[in-house]
């Protein structure tokens, strides 16, 4: 057997992947705080989430620079090239998910000091958030393990979020005549929408897992052509 070569390059690739996927941990932490802020109408905590998003944006820029350096200096090909391309997509998804936490945090003050909370709706939104958090952990595990089946399972997990989102919508429609409650419900639909997008981003990461492993990029679910997707 030939001696292994390019050991430093392999170290660089491993570090790049760990650094990029570490971004998911930052998002998980941000999502945890966001959900707590939603649950308790905690404006101070929501401001912390907004301020702390700089860390996620910073991680995005760092990984982006590391990727450019590797492309320029190491001319990666084959699986290495697919991995680097995938990590660029993953980092973009991470940055977007961080932004969704910011979006949620920005609307929390709009609900007012003593908002007319609809318990069933808030519980469903928190369930959506916990489901999204679980998906982020699963996406990271699938990427690290190059586990396509686990990645593909994210679609099933995402369906649960989508169902809860629809239920929230029905609750918002039927929330009643009170002006303040209706405003609160509309604001909560923005929160639900942001969480729903986080779920979609987690699925996007799963698709990148399949790309790294197989070399083929296919959307697990195609919103425009649901019958033909899933390949």
């Amino acid at each position: 057997m030939p001696e292994p070569a390019r050991l430093h390059y392999q170290d660089d690739l491993d570090n790049l992947e760990a650094h990029a996927l570490g971004g998911l941990d930052l998002v998980i932490a941000s999502l945890d705080r966001t959900l707590e802020a939603v649950e308790h109408q905690d404006i101070e905590l929501s401001e912390l989430v907004i301020a702390d998003d700089d860390r996620i944006d910073g991680r995005y820029l760092e990984v982006h620079q590391e990727i450019l350096t590797l492309l320029a200096t190491q001319a990666p090909v084959a699986t290495d090239l697919r991995l680097i391309s995938a990590l660029l997509h993953v980092m973009h998804s991470i940055e977007r998910m961080g932004d969704q936490c910011v979006n949620i945090s920005k609307v929390i003050p709009l609900t007012g000091h003593e908002a007319p909370v609809h318990e069933e709706m808030i519980e469903k939104i928190l369930m959506m958030g916990r489901q999204a958090r679980s998906m982020l952990s699963q996406a990271k595990k699938a990427f690290q393990g190059r586990d396509v089946e686990l990645a593909r399972d994210l679609v099933r997990q995402d369906d649960l979020i989508d169902d809860l989102n629809k239920e929230c919508f029905q609750l918002a429609v039927q929330v009643g005549e009170d002006q303040d409650t209706r405003e609160w419900a509309m604001t909560m639909m923005l929160v639900a929408r942001a969480i729903e997008r986080i779920g979609d981003n987690a699925v996007d990461i799963g698709e990148q897992v399949a790309f790294v492993v197989t070399g083929l990029f296919r959307e697990f679910e195609d919103a425009s052509h649901p019958a033909t997707a899933g390949g």
Binding site: P2, A5, P76, D200, G215, S224
Partner: protein
Amino acid sequence: MPETTTDTSVSGENQTVTPELTATAEQAKTKKRDAARVDHVATRVQVEDVNLYYGNFHAVQGVTMTIEPNQVTALIGSSGCGKTTVLRCLNRMHELTPNARVEGKVLLDDHDIYAPDIDPVEVRRLVGMVFQAPNPFPTMSVYENVAAGLTLNRKGISKSQKDEIVERSLRGAHLWEEVKDRLDRPGSGLSGGQQQRLCIARAIAVEPQVVLMDEPCSALDPIATLAIEDLIEDLKTRYTIVIVTHNMQQAARASDVTAFFNLEATGKPGHLVEMGPTQKMFTTPEKKETEDYVSGRFG
């Protein structure tokens, strides 16, 4: 980089993507563009179960491959894997080495170049070769270097015909503008990159069908290398090109098809591991052996 919550755009992140279709369309476009650039349909080379020997040493085992016309095919692999030996058997140069022999068939558009009635000199006219180190005839002028093959192959050719072919060949080798005012100066006085292009001009002056290149840029600086790679891209509109290179980025840049050779262990014969479109070989190779080589994990 936060966005506003009023952004309800769906299309931004859920747009329909059919990358396979896109890729196919892109490949079709590339093919069409390449087809449009073919000035002369060159010859297909088919290698059928070729085994190559140096005396008792079995150098290359059971190679079967088709080299398509008007394409650049790169042969890559670690030292000693037999890629240069395979290249040299495509114009019967392998047999010039003492005790070397060939088993199997090499067909140029269905004609076996190893058939008993075939003249090896005519084979080498049809299948030209450019070597690793530029080797212009040192005592000959630029003009004479290009015309050397004509003098041997086309006796009785007129001066004006010769002038025309020399100019056309030098233009074809991207060298005319640089040497047109010093055609009578020694070819050895040119720079390394110019000398290699002079050798390419000499090779194409006899109107071959196939041009073989054995690490044609290994002795050149990066700028001269890129000039040769540009030239190779143009040459494929008239010729079938086969290039042996140790530089994987060159194979990736300059070839349409890549063939990877390897050997199981020192002393074992080299063999063809995998051959396919260069884009595929460098993004999603079929074999782990290929993957390890192109990504520099060994070699």
